[in-house]
């Protein structure tokens, strides 16, 4: 019974972190870690981990909503903003969310079913690539930059990647700065996107709740397969997030429509988290903040515990299908009546205040600088995901230097 209560509370926290731009699951997970000693006098560590998994899976479903309806993504949803926003401006915001839900949900099912195969594969691949991890991360960075067309755009992409990387190194080594990642990512991907939206004079048309978009089964199967593989890669390589995997996945499936792209990125985002649990079990490595906290609480997980966590993910993903689409309908209705500019401005104020309370003036300064950098990509016509250099460059340097 206590497990179901933990799942319910985890879902509630996941709704909060998923819907509020700038609030990440890592923040709640770290908060939980700080009181875990006290909580473990009442609950088994497994209960705390179940809470984190329920929250994280819920977050990966719901973070599509602010990305599509408000144009305010977290780092994992960067690639969904443009296609999602395009559909929003055609009155199909609900359909856009539904596509990410389809991707997340089906990719979770494929991942869980493939676990017996994925475990030995992940161990095999990891032992092969671990000695050259730094070079692979460098290759991914170069690959992302070369995806830009034309020499001028590539130079801009390189400059943004390097500046973000230097900013990342400064942020992570700054003494006395708490929750540095929240400040950094809120600026790079959250507030900067909202500021651009404010100046773009976006007029959101009346939203329809329809079933207009239908993908063929063949295309859906191809995208789910690629999404699972690309999401799995993010679980193996540190520093590579859903955005980088999305670009690589996009290359694997070739030219695809906005619809398919949303399914792909929804899937990668969720598989990214699922696979990091498998990586924790098979390699005893943490690939994201929430799993790092799980590792701190439990050190290692047994085979039974792994399956328990996967069943938690399956249960929560089933619930999240209903939950996300219900909230998306509500958003579609509400956005017709809300002043979009006031809404964006309110979120900017909220996130800025949140960062200031959490990280103090140093965090606020980091957020201001990273916001300025995050505004740059759309103005020089390059992808915003180059800002992920803030994580990729420090991790690459860690392996190479």
């Amino acid at each position: 019974m206590i497990l179901f209560i933990a799942i319910l509370i985890g879902i509630c926290f996941g709704i909060f972190t998923g819907l509020v731009p700038g609030v990440h699951i890592n923040l709640v997970a770290v908060g939980l870690l700080s009181v875990s000693g006290f909580l473990m006098t009442y609950f088994d560590p497994v209960v705390l981990v179940v809470f984190i998994i329920a929250m994280s899976v819920t977050h990966t479903f719901l973070d599509a909503l602010p990305a599509i309806f408000l144009g305010a993504p977290d780092a994992d949803q960067v690639l969904n903003v443009l296609p999602g926003h395009r559909l929003l401006l055609q009155g199909q915001g609900y359909e856009a969310v539904k596509l990410t839900v389809v991707g997340s949900f089906l990719c979770i099912l494929v991942t869980v079913v493939s676990i017996p195969v994925l475990i030995p594969i992940s161990i095999g691949i990891y032992s092969l690539v671990n000695p050259v991890m730094g070079w692979i991360l460098l290759f991914v960075s170069v690959f992302m930059i070369l995806q830009e067309r034309g020499i001028e755009r590539r130079i801009w992409a390189l400059a943004i990647y390097l500046i973000a990387g230097i900013l990342g190194v400064i942020t992570f080594t700054m003494p006395g700065l708490k929750h540095s990642l929240v400040a950094l990512l809120s600026g790079l991907f959250g507030i900067s996107t909202l500021i651009v939206s404010l100046y773009d004079n976006v007029n959101v048309p009346k939203q329809e709740v329809t079933e207009k978009i239908v993908l063929s089964r063949k295309e859906l199967a191809k995208i789910i397969f690629v999404g699972t593989i690309a999401g799995g890669i993010t679980g193996l390589f540190p520093g590579i997030g859903a955005a980088q995997a999305g670009i690589m996945g996009g290359q694997l499936v070739g030219k695809i429509k906005d619809y398919s792209y949303l399914v792909l990125n929804g899937g990668i985002n969720t598989v990214n988290f699922m696979f990091s649990i498998v990586t924790l079990y098979s390699l005893e490595k943490a690939r994201n903040g929430a799993v790092l906290v799980i590792m701190e609480i439990m050190d290692t997980i047994s085979y039974y515990q792994l399956w328990l966590f996967l069943f938690v993910a399956v249960l929560v993903s089933g619930i999240c299908v209903f939950l996300t689409l219900y909230i998306a309908r509500w958003f579609s209705h509400l956005i017709n009546y809300v002043n979009y500019k006031i809404l964006c401005f309110s979120i900017i104020v909220f996130v800025s205040g949140f960062v200031f309370v959490l990280s103090g003036w140093k965090g606020f300064l980091i957020m201001t600088v990273s916001t300025a950098l995050g505004i740059l990509p759309p103005y020089v016509n390059v992808r915003r995901n180059h800002c992920m250099g803030c994580l990729l460059l420090p991790v690459t340097l860690f392996f190479l230097v």
């Binding site: 000693g37 099912l109 047994s302 299908v321």
Partner: protein
């Protein structure tokens, strides 16, 4: 994918998830083990033990407790002061470490059972 089909699949997942959880939930709690079964082969493993707190010694930044069943094991907790009732029956959750060729437990959590 039609929304009805999506909802049907989601409902199936909810049911499968609940059944899986009910089946596995009894198997996953960290098992309590006898002190006599803890050896150096368990070093770095998480364990849960129960026993009487025979002696509590507090030093600066660290407390040591002898936990007794039929055999005895030393439990170390990195806190300033542990106060336990005389002969309290306690549950300890922590990691096995080696000290001077013997296993001891670095405690994360100590619960007083009675």
């Amino acid at each position: 994918m039609r929304e009805k089909l999506l909802y049907k699949l989601a409902l199936i997942c909810v049911v499968v998830g609940i059944v899986g959880l009910l089946f596995l939930s009894s198997k996953v709690e960290t098992d309590k083990i006898d002190i006599s079964r803890i050896t150096l082969a368990d070093v770095e493993n998480d364990v849960k033990i129960e026993g009487r707190a025979a002696a509590v010694r507090n030093y600066a930044g660290v407390s040591m407790i002898d936990v007794v069943q039929e055999e005895k094991i030393k439990v170390v907790m990195f806190v300033d002061n542990v106060t336990l009732p005389e002969g309290a029956f306690i549950e300890v959750y922590g990691k096995v470490e080696e000290y001077k060729g013997k296993p001891e437990i670095i405690a994360d959590v100590i619960k007083v059972k009675r």
